[in-house]
Symmetry: C2
Subunit: 329 residues, 2 copies
Amino acid sequence: MGHGGGGALSAELVQQIFVPAFGGEVLAQLGDSAAVSLGGTRLAFSTDSFVVRPLFFPGGSIGDLAVNGTVNDLAMSGARAAYLSCGFILEEGVEMPVVAGVADAMGAAARAAGVEVATGDTKVVEAGHGDGVYINTAGIGLIPSGVDLCPQRVVPGDVVIVSGDIGVHGVAIMSVREGLEFGVEIESDCAALGGLVETMLAVTPDLHVLRDPTRGGLAAALCEIATVSCTGIVIQERAIPVPPTVANACAILGLDPMYVANEGKLVAFVPREHADAVLAAMRTHPLGAGATIIGETVATHPGMVVARTLLGGTRVVDLPLGEQLPRIC
Amino acid sequence: MGHGGGGALSAELVQQIFVPAFGGEVLAQLGDSAAVSLGGTRLAFSTDSFVVRPLFFPGGSIGDLAVNGTVNDLAMSGARAAYLSCGFILEEGVEMPVVAGVADAMGAAARAAGVEVATGDTKVVEAGHGDGVYINTAGIGLIPSGVDLCPQRVVPGDVVIVSGDIGVHGVAIMSVREGLEFGVEIESDCAALGGLVETMLAVTPDLHVLRDPTRGGLAAALCEIATVSCTGIVIQERAIPVPPTVANACAILGLDPMYVANEGKLVAFVPREHADAVLAAMRTHPLGAGATIIGETVATHPGMVVARTLLGGTRVVDLPLGEQLPRIC
């Protein structure tokens, strides 16, 4: 299970098996989505499979995740998603109203994100070889000219911004899956980030990198960017927006909110001269109302993420080994 | 299981649940791949999930299928596949050498087809919720100018050509899955058809439709084209190339070779004036060496496929209801 958790074991699987086997240059860049060129057009191309359990949870469903997850991966390349593909793997015996409910949720999410489901496929596997519904989506979108988002562009002095509260999606799933009650129901914040990214790029196309902190949470996103950019990252722990419900749930469960998955939040590395304007623009967008600066990049400790703790100390933020929460997306 | 078999139940699922839920115009065309326009570029975009059992079989593996299946769907739009995405769903406990073997097979198949795996994703599900390895691929490729392949373009008088022996892939899978021995080992003919299609389009871009007769076999492909084009199709049963090993295996199993899945064969509807030249060109290509004319389209009985039998009679060829062979791709 650890190999699917988005942490060090996942990275090992990709680096040791998939990259050597496939051998492509684009894949080796390992972004949330690939930037490819076709007929003179620059496209973002991305895929994600969704195996979340339960299929429906407070604030969303596997259908919402399947649309928003891929739309968000494309948005992290600066691309507005144009077309999605959709592959269903249904388990024999799943009720048709469940399939229809998932499909309806996907359709609604696609319309909300302004993306068209253009092609699809359905396979059915025997009972006991699936879990109701698995969905894969892939997506394509145009990358606007002048936009080049990649971790290699991060330099010391960049400002690190998150778009809002972290940890909400992961805790929402956990609470229903394990039947835990935290006093109040926590709803997933699953959303499509294409519009927020457009708002940010309207300030300047010169953002350095965007990342969608899903599996592995904010910590994994920061560690990957630090490693690839060979830049140090310093985070102010007190600046990280964690809502009290998430903090309480994490305290009970022994989880660190920085490692909990999100789906509807982004982290941006922005040149210092644009940081205030980008932050102000983000706060005008409903999905960026809670945007805040959480840290900066530094020339010291390249490749390492350090958090200044609430008590004034520092700690190293590591890539998680395996999963904290399995099958969350 | 029937809903995944590529027959009438599959069509019902797509028409009654997915098309209304997603509501897009492109999806509603229901081709092997979607033709979309992005930044002024015409692209083919397609997806397929692969749940075949066993993962390795004579002549190929799930990795070969995952590449060639999507490459072939794009080729049916006339597009040479440029980039693939790849989503793995691994079952907890699957051995890493198995995953590596599948990935290596995908890499080799991608290099053979001239396509690059540009982006990927891996999820892990608990033991008992998968079957070792499931793979989804999506692909994109350029549609050459002047090429417009769709069933709506089929008119009475078109010539129907298949590229070679049918039924081989389905029987190969069946023989290893069920431990059946048919005297000789039957190897899957799984192959990438992009090069063959390029050879055909070099004769004339004015082919009417190409179809990859996978699930549901040649019969399902012909029925779908007859329905969408509102044209009758007449097939000469004696002209259909069925190798003796496939014929014998089908006789033992009570299957009709016309309903058995292929992966490495195509059926083409070609204007009569180009048919001889297209057929000659196909025969110069290794994957079209066995190409042959099997029938024609007619103005009578629109939407219906009729086979002239070996004994001189006629029979109606229907869309299969469900699956003949589950999890064959």
